[in-house]
Subunit: 422 residues, 2 copies
């Protein structure tokens, strides 16, 4: 399939410039980005974008997709009550079919927000990966072993299975968190990382009490522990990273680790505001953004996250100049792709995967055109997503999903939600 | 014009219940809300909502609409640099025509977010009111006198003029802020309030330095000063109210004043997080939500504001149970209406004005249906606004504006923005 998107503005994210021109795809890849061509007639479909904006797809660099089943079910509760009395007991009832349906529901929502891939940590991976493959959505699975489920051998098997299953699916080593995973398992994972020369990811320092608990158990922070155990010899990253100290930041800097921030979830669960500007002052350079799951956020919307990233830093730093818009856009696109190991999904250039979104500029929130990148970060909304393309295939266009029957998903989702939650 | 919206879910905001039924309008008013009827055939138009949700329109209880002309022009700057070097010099170039066009641009954006009325503080009121009347949008003008423009006599004249100009326009007494308005003027305004038995509104305690300055000048906070001068004998309210002390909260409680919060603007300009839960503990009961202007926010979106109101309180209180969703929905609808003096725009009931929005539930972020009010506050987006109705007239439907030519507005807005900002 060859597509031509012409009469477009294009923000490639290779730099801050906006090109007036066109983008072509050939199969899953980008075959041309640049000025207007006279190549009409050589494509399966040619789409006149009427001046709308093409950007690299957003990367949701930390999420639990199928948690859409609990959206708005148990909010406004203290964290422990929420987790132990609402989340865990209901998760125990999830079937393969439930995972499939609620993953597709999440993917639909990603598409409405211009998100083209997810870095997902959940379970029942056969159903999860099938839901993505069937829809044509790109996902990176993150290992989620902890003391309640999974083994290091199981993680190794998953690593090999899901890195060779399908071009849209890949797998990164990971585990749930320090506070749910015993030392022996952490040591086994460190060896696995070194065996495969593979990066390692986990929830890290999401809450103050998590860090305090780790200090009591090990006399050091989770980051310092993981580093000491040799988990980061081949890179990786942490999700949340709200309660970092200076030494944690230096480790992340020295090992080139990715800090994946989840601002909406961190506010809504009263976890805190991550010190992103302080991390930058410590020399950290690798940042990405995730939504976390719909049970804690409760929506899967990169526009809301982007605004929160910058606005919360401005608040935290007491400086309206902190964390400028283009930096945030980089985190949400390039940074996310690289955090997930999707090095060919980062920018719009020939040979890169054709994972992108078309932003409707014919909406009042995008006017006037003083600065389109700022309009996106400070004023953008799902309402502006006209089209989302993954691997050269249009999955979402003018409010419709091309690879799933939305009403069927909604009906199945309601039925299963009733069965699980009563 | 008589309209019938049937096959709907209806959240009237009289209570938390959701009705399955229909809503009828007759002219600008609601003539029926309740269960299914067999009244087909008696209307100018009958709309099958296919189960979508009708809610009272959101009220943007503090904004500067025409500041859309500066959207994304001067962000990421320290507050003083932004205000004195970017906002003021460019505002000085605004013509009546510019105010008209950028007000209509803002109103279009309000409509995309289900907002049916604005409480606006700006200038060039003839052009401003005409822009609203021509579009069919409801607005309440707030007086904006300060030492740089306007007189008490001028405010009195505006009060009389704009409270009798047109059914869609009303006017409340107000002034810019303590730090921009000399005592003599404040005293004159207090007398005016008492003469007309009218409430009084102003920017109040937006920044820490504003309150510190007032303490230096008067030995008390702005709220205490205004109260001492007799400005609140007939009610009123304050915009922002970030830096309140206990005594300020007691005054607001005792006088029944409205606290209008602007969380996105307060974060983005690094002003702070308003202590809403603490205010409630002090007995304050009247709250509303505003977007502030697009130069500081940068978008006019009640969904983003609602999420911020609750999420920032959860963060500030270190309690995920703080500020539950339905309370926020009340602030954004009923609370806003009452803050603005629009007592017949607060809930959906017979005899109230037909100001409402239709929420598209056939979007992934609204599924499953565990709790629709929470879905709105925690997961809602402009993408979910299918229709916005003001005074019984559909102004926005399926992405199209019925009373303005959007392309004409965009073209005029771009041209004027270039002329003013270069």
């Amino acid at each position: 399939m060859k597509l031509r998107f012409h009469n477009a503005k294009i923000l490639t994210m290779e730099n801050e410039n906006i090109i007036d021109g066109e983008l072509h795809t050939d199969g899953g890849k980008i075959s041309y980005v640049g000025e207007k061509t006279d190549n009409s007639g050589k494509f399966d479909r040619e789409i006149d974008l009427n001046g709308d904006l093409i950007i690299p797809g957003f990367k949701d660099a930390h999420t639990h997709s199928a948690m859409t089943f609990l959206r708005s079910f148990a909010d406004d509760l203290p964290l422990n009550d929420w987790l132990y009395n609402q989340v865990f007991p209901h998760e125990a009832k999830l079937t393969e079919d439930a995972i499939y349906v609620f993953t597709q529901l999440a993917n639909m929502e990603y598409l409405t927000s211009g998100i083209t891939s997810s870095f997902d940590m959940y379970f029942k991976l056969p159903a999860y990966s099938k839901a993505n493959i069937d829809m044509g959505f790109r996902t990176v699975i993150c290992g989620s072993i902890n003391d309640f489920g999974g083994t290091v051998e199981g993680i190794e098997e998953e690593f090999n299975t899901y890195n060779s299953l399908h071009p849209l699916v890949s797998y990164q080593l990971g585990f749930h968190a320090e506070y749910t995973t015993k030392r022996e398992t952490l040591e086994g994972l460190a060896k696995l990382s070194q065996k495969y020369k593979a990066p390692m990811y986990t929830h890290n320092s999401e809450t103050k009490s998590e860090v305090e608990g780790c200090r009591e158990r090990y006399g050091m922070t989770p980051t310092q522990l993981f580093n000491k155990l040799g988990m980061f010899e081949y890179g990786g990253g942490g999700f949340h990273c709200v309660w970092f100290d200076g030494r944690d930041m230096e480790i992340f800097r020295d090992k080139g680790l990715f800090m994946v921030t989840n601002p909406a979830s961190n506010l809504k669960l009263a976890s805190g505001i991550a010190p992103i500007c302080e991390m930058k002052r410590h020399g950290m350079k690798n940042f990405a953004i995730g939504t976390d799951g719909a049970a804690s956020n409760n929506c899967l919307d990169m526009f809301r996250e982007m605004f929160l990233v910058t606005a919360l830093q401005k608040y935290r730093e007491d400086d309206a100049a902190a964390c400028p818009a283009f930096d945030v856009l980089e985190m949400a696109t390039k940074g996310g792709a690289r955090a997930m190991g999707l090095f060919d999904c980062d920018v719009l250039a020939v040979g890169k995967f054709a994972d992108f979104a078309v932003i409707d500029l014919s909406q009042p929130n995008m006017r006037p055109f003083h600065n389109l990148a700022k309009n996106l970060v400070y004023a953008g909304s799902k309402q502006n997503v006209k089209m989302t393309v993954v691997n050269g295939k249009i999955l979402y266009e003018n409010g419709e999903f091309t690879t799933v029957d939305k009403n069927e998903i909604y009906e199945r989702a309601e039925k299963i939600a009733r069965e699980i939650c009563g």
